[in-house]
Symmetry: C2
Subunit: 111 residues, 2 copies
DNA sequence: CCTATGTATAACCATTCGGTTACGCAAATT
DNA sequence: AATTTGCGTAACCGAATGGTTATACATAGG
């Protein structure tokens, strides 16, 4: 079973879960409150997210506290960033050009 | 049928095709030479990539010339970059919040 | 004109995905 | 002790995914 970050963020529900957890960690029921799908469905998505390391679950009594482990995005960011040079002039993935980059950002590359 | 960039890059074969096309545009047979799977399989993946705008195909006679349209990565990059503040001190994607960001990091939600 | 080339597409297949309902279990509450 | 709460998991389901082989078709070259 392929379980990598690229595949994990392919599903919009999982991206929404990440969004929620990045803002504030919470248990499974709190997460499920934000969706119309069933709690077991959320549980499955959380499982996928933990299997690829994007979410970390710590048990506190009977509650399973979920938090986002966003460092895992490095893998995706690195892959995407290597192509940024092809669609604008930024080279921010290399981390050496922060000053130059600030100026580049002024003429925002977003469509 | 959901057809977005997030889902398109979830498959490793499609990422590899993007890699090839970013380096140099080429027709379908040239792409297929790099894989063990059949040509129709590649054709299907190309179709998915074109449907979400990541690849652009122009016909030249009987050859279908494929090139990567990497601007489409903006969507993914923007989503990922909003979280960068949570895993390191750079805010290179937004560029406007360097000071605020330093404070936010203090009460980092990361475990 | 005939053949070879480059590609798309249809039909099919096994597997995975994303959801459901039903059930079980441990921890908290009463 | 009994009940409620929070959660996981099993069994199931329809649809999507990612591959295959066979076929068709337009274009290029002999």
């Amino acid at each position: 079973m392929r379980r990598d970050v690229f595949q994990a963020i392919a599903d919009p529900t999982r991206r929404e879960i990440i969004d929620l957890l990045a803002r504030n960690p919470q248990n499974l029921n709190s997460i499920a409150d934000n969706f119309t799908i069933s709690r077991p469905a959320i549980s499955k998505q959380i499982k996928i997210l933990t299997q690829c390391g994007l979410v970390i679950v710590t048990r506190q009594g009977r509650e399973h506290y979920c938090s986002a482990n966003l460092k895992k995005f490095n893998e995706v960011a690195a892959w995407i960033e290597q192509y940024r040079v092809f669609w604008n002039n930024k080279l921010d993935a290399l981390g050496d050009f922060l000053e130059k980059e600030a100026e580049v950002d002024k003429r925002s590359p977003m469509k």
